[in-house]
Symmetry: C2
Subunit: 157 residues, 2 copies
């Protein structure tokens, strides 16, 4: 089980590195490490939690270490910031531009990222009707995921 998981992780990291290369950027060790933590996390992670993990390997790491990596990952489309939680999550499909719709479970904290271009289009249309040009949209929805709604008792932190 751990093996399969590791394999997926390595695969994702490789794809991310290639994605960066395509953009003329580099997935450095620090960026890779932060991305690996996000990919391995069950849900989103806070910057200072990431920092604590990084510090296990690199005791001298400081806040800028992780914030720089996060800025890079978010700008590159490899991760998203969840504004309503001040937390970060790996992007589910960074190779395809999409408008993320984040379903954030308030109980188990897992995040499901959907993409609905028609929803995004409707939103842009509403905005345009008011003379507003959309540059970025961030739809975050709080609620309960299927497991937690159905009374699952294992998901809670």
């Amino acid at each position: 089980m751990k093996h399969a998981h590791t394999h997926d992780l390595e695969h994702d990291l490789l794809a991310a590195a290639q994605w960066c290369a395509k953009r003329g950027e580099k997935l450095t060790d620090q960026r890779r490490e932060v991305l690996a933590l996000l990919l391995s996390a069950q849900g989103s992670m806070k910057a200072y939690d990431l920092l604590a993990e990084i510090q296990k390997q690199r005791p001298t790491a400081a806040p800028p270490t992780v914030y720089r990596a996060l800025d890079f990952l978010v700008t590159a489309g490899l991760a998203h910031k969840l504004e309503s939680k001040n937390a970060f999550v790996a992007c589910c499909d960074f190779e395809h531009p999409h408008h993320g719709l984040m379903l954030i479970c308030d109980r188990c904290h897992k995040v499901t990222e959907l993409s609905d271009e028609r929803l995004a289009a409707r939103l842009a249309e509403d905005a345009a009707g008011h003379g507003f040009s959309v540059a970025a949209q961030d739809i975050e929805v709080r609620g309960l995921c299927r497991n937690c709604r159905d009374g699952d008792t294992k998901g809670a932190a």
Copy 2:
């Protein structure tokens, strides 16, 4: 001009007080003062900017003073928190429950609040398709308002 503006503000504050009373709550002086600041603001305001304004009258006011008022106003539906800016804005129509779609201008910082129930329904439908029950949604869109997009040079801060 100032007269009309003051009149509107008083009207809004009165309506807000009545709204609170209907809910069995009170719009106290501090809450009213914070709401008045939000209503008078051109765009959103930060908690510590509100605090600075409050301190002009009440030099001993501290962060909890303003955060308590803001928590109350947001819970009562009289204000919204803009998660992507860590800022607060008065609700445009607190008497009618609605799903706000916030158009936030990145240049002049004005906020236009729309309500599109069909958009909200579509969003809830997407979520339900993944077994997710929506509890709260916060749609924040960043971009440029009509004036700023059209090259207005007066709106910038």
